[in-house]
């Protein structure tokens, strides 16, 4: 048995001291950087919380003991008036449907916009390759503005109602999905596209027949996830702006005592809807991405 595991003669072997020092040096450096990063992080977190605490009206420790005051108040009243709940549920179903419709329409429109934007902004697929940065910036902007801002501005122009919310969510969806879609499209196989190009297909034919079939499962999965997110967004917009179940919730909540049964009813309705959609979309998304 030859001693290969132990390498050549002593003299020819690389200097042990060198490797050892190199490694020890690395360990020292890592420990130092790690330590500095750790201390930095802890310091930022601690001072951040301290600052937030000092800027807050109430302190953290005082508040902690009262954490359940409000929920207790709400729940005890709702419990006392629990007989009203089924009726209140029923009252708010139309508002819930409006909220869901806002989310669905916005997701539909936003997805279509995202499809176009993402193809226009993907290297190798773009209709006008020079315009790629332009379309990317457009998507960045659409993503950056919170929905609420667009919605409030649009309420000023269009008056109340669900349409401003739809537009606001659709714009944001267009930007957010556009980025994800374009990441998927970037990985699409270009061979079919080239094949279609060689027969003289125009751009829309190349995209529709060559790219969309490849990316459809992933895109659909992202769109479902977005729908889930948009249901929340639509409820929140109602809360801050107007329309849908979020608005009902806000009014009941602002009135406060005396309508806490309504608060609980609306909240439960919304919560159950969100959890149900969450579950269903989770299920289909897993199916879409795994099974093809």
């Amino acid at each position: 048995m030859v001693d290969i595991a132990f390498g050549p003669e002593k003299g020819q072997r690389p200097d042990l001291a060198d490797n050892r020092e190199a490694y020890l040096d690395m360990v020292r450096r890592k420990r130092m950087y790690g330590g500095i990063l750790m201390v930095l992080f802890v310091a930022i977190m601690a001072s951040g919380w301290w600052l937030a605490d000092s800027r807050n009206a109430g302190g953290f420790w005082n508040g902690l003991s009262q954490l359940f005051d409000f929920p207790a108040e709400v729940l005890s009243e709702a419990w006392a008036k629990r007989a009203n709940l089924p009726h209140l549920f029923w009252d708010h179903v139309p508002a819930l449907i409006e909220t869901l419709n806002i989310a669905a329409v916005a997701t539909l429109i936003g997805t279509v916009a995202a499809m176009a934007l993402s193809l226009l902004a993907t290297r190798g697929l773009a209709r006008w390759p020079r315009m790629i940065p332009v379309f990317r910036r457009i998507m960045d902007m659409l993503r950056a503005i919170p929905e609420i801002v667009i919605a409030l501005v649009l309420i000023f122009i269009l008056g109340g109602g669900p349409v401003p919310a739809v537009i606001a969510i659709a714009l944001h969806t267009g930007g957010a999905l556009g980025k994800l879609f374009s990441e998927v499209a970037e990985n699409a196989d270009l061979k079919p596209v080239e094949g279609l190009q060689s027969v003289g297909a125009n751009w829309s034919q190349r995209m529709w027949l060559g790219v969309i079939p490849q990316v459809a499962p992933n895109w659909l999965s992202y769109a479902l996830l977005r729908f889930e997110i948009n249901v929340r967004a639509s409820a929140i917009l109602g809360f801050v702006g107007e329309g849908g179940i979020g608005h009902d919730l806000k009014l009941a909540m602002q009135w406060g005592q005396g309508r806490y049964d309504e608060v609980v009813a609306i909240f439960l309705l919304l919560f159950l809807a969100i959890v149900a959609i969450d579950r269903i979309s989770d299920h289909y998304r897993h199916k879409l991405v795994k099974g093809h």
Binding site: I44, M45, G48, W49, L51, A52, D53, R55, N56, A57, G58, G59, F60, G63, L64, Q66, L67, D69, F70, P71, E98, N101, A104, V105, L108, D140, M141, R143, A144, I145, P146, I148, V149, L152, V153, F156, I157, L158, G159, G161, P162, V163, V166, R232, A235, I236, F239, V240, M253, F267, F271, I274, V275, D278
Partner: protein
């Protein structure tokens, strides 16, 4: 090798398939269109078109990038005020007027440009519109009387107590109590210094000169310091307050996200099948995650408001709670997908559970962990804007309130630009960190 050799049934199958696909190709868009039509009806889009106020849109768009200056004379005491946006903080101090307004004796002359000139005098006011003529208003028995070339164009709106003229050069209003002229100009006026500041109206060159070698304007501090403080405390734009608001928003997002990540990491082990064999605990942990995610940050904000009062900490805690739910779910999914070989290797040396997690698991889920945390940090900057509007802090409060009051659209534009920049900055920062931390090290 002829067409006849082809089985006829094959042609049938294929054509039938194409027909089916064709039906699908129509059915899906038709279903979508039907839904959209239903939605349009239920959203009352038709009514919306009537309700939509495109003049509001025009105001808003022009306000985004322009400002207006009010030149107002109180008809009761004859006092003249020139104020940017008609606000007290934009009022020209005594003895200072924009160069297009001049006062001589009791006569005020306002040059709106392009030949439009408005004059206020003791008798009333006059507006010379090129290509039309002179609109002359005199007060008779305490009531404005209009003389102007007939027929009156539609841009002159004369009522009993009020005469309004709108031209491309500006707007003019005459009522019993006052006469006002509005001139629109591009730009965000007073963005650097307000009218009462000694630095107002200076060119960048002059300012640089003052800052570097000019004599001290205020004896007790340097010109540069004075200048910065005048800018920072600009009463019209409040750059200092706005900067703080932006910082507060980022602070909420950062504290919320990081805290959620630190809390969710250990908890997610409870919800992962391969680490929590007890089904009840696992299900309980999952339901808890689902619950706090489902409730949504906004509701948490309201619940927490009672306990902690308004302020950034409330917002940060609300974000932390919601995201604990999201992270818990994602991390536990990541945990279920880990490579067991590494854990087994560490385990075979006699490592205990904590060590196995530390060396067998954490290195594996670190990339997912970092990617998600950074992604959420970015998206929470946006959420913090909205949450801020509820808890009374951050740029969100400034923005939503500015929109709700529907007047300072240039401020809205300013805040919006800042928010977009802030989110984009966080986006690229988190992207940069993601690349650095996940690829490197």
């Amino acid at each position: 090798m002829t067409a006849t050799a082809m089985a006829p049934s094959l042609a049938e199958t294929v054509t039938r398939r194409f027909a089916a696909r064709r039906r699908m190709a129509f059915a899906i868009p038709a279903a979508i269109i039907a839904y959209l039509v239903y939605a349009a009806i239920s959203f009352d889009v038709a009514g919306l078109v009537n309700r939509a106020r495109f003049d509001n849109a025009a105001i808003l768009l022009s306000d985004f990038w322009s400002h207006k200056t009010h030149v107002t004379r109180d008809n009761r005491n004859g006092k003249l005020t020139v104020a940017i946006e008609g606000e007290a903080k934009g009022t020209y101090p005594e003895g200072m007027l924009p160069d297009w307004v001049s006062v001589a004796g009791g006569v005020t002359t306002i040059d709106l440009g392009q030949g439009h000139v408005v004059t206020y005098d003791d008798a009333g006011a006059r507006y010379v519109v090129p290509g039309y003529g002179t609109i002359d208003i005199r007060e008779v028995d305490g009531r404005p009387v209009l003389t102007a070339p007939e027929p009156l164009p539609s841009w002159i709106n004369a009522a009993e107590n009020r005469i309004a003229v709108t031209t491309p050069a500006g707007r003019f209003n005459y009522t019993r109590s006052k006469v006002e002229t509005f001139r629109y100009q591009a730009g965000w006026e007073l963005w650097f210094f307000t009218l009462d500041s000694p630095f107002y109206g200076k060119s960048p060159g002059e300012l640089a000169g003052l800052a570097l070698w000019g004599d001290r304007i205020a004896a007790d501090r340097s010109n540069l310091g004075y200048m910065l403080s005048e800018f920072w405390n600009n009463r019209m734009w409040r750059h200092g307050d706005v900067a703080w608001a932006i910082f507060e928003t980022i602070l909420m997002a950062f504290l919320g996200t990081m805290t959620a990540a630190l809390v969710a990491l250990p908890l997610s082990f409870l919800a992962a099948r391969n680490f929590m064999p007890l089904g009840i605990f696992r299900a309980a942990a999952r339901r808890v995650f689902d619950f706090i995610r489902g409730v949504d940050g906004l509701i948490w904000t309201i619940i927490l408001s009672r306990a902690f009062g308004p302020g950034p900490m409330t917002g940060a805690i609300a974000i932390a709670i919601t995201d604990t739910g999201s992270f818990g779910k994602m991390f536990s999914e990541a945990l279920e997908n880990i490579d067991e070989k590494q854990v087994e290797g560490v385990r075979s040396t006699g490592a205990n559970a904590v060590q196995r997690a530390r060396f067998g698991v954490i290195p594996q889920i670190m990339p997912v962990f970092l990617a998600q945390v950074l992604y959420y940090l970015e998206s929470n900057t946006r959420s913090a804007t909205v949450i801020g509007a509820i808890v009374g802090g951050g740029i969100g409060l400034l923005l939503t309130q500015a929109i709700l009051t529907q007047k300072d659209w240039e401020e809205v534009a300013y805040y919006m630009v800042l928010i977009i920049l802030m989110v984009m900055l966080m986006d690229s920062l988190s992207g940069w960190l993601r690349r650095k931390l996940i690829k490197g090290s």
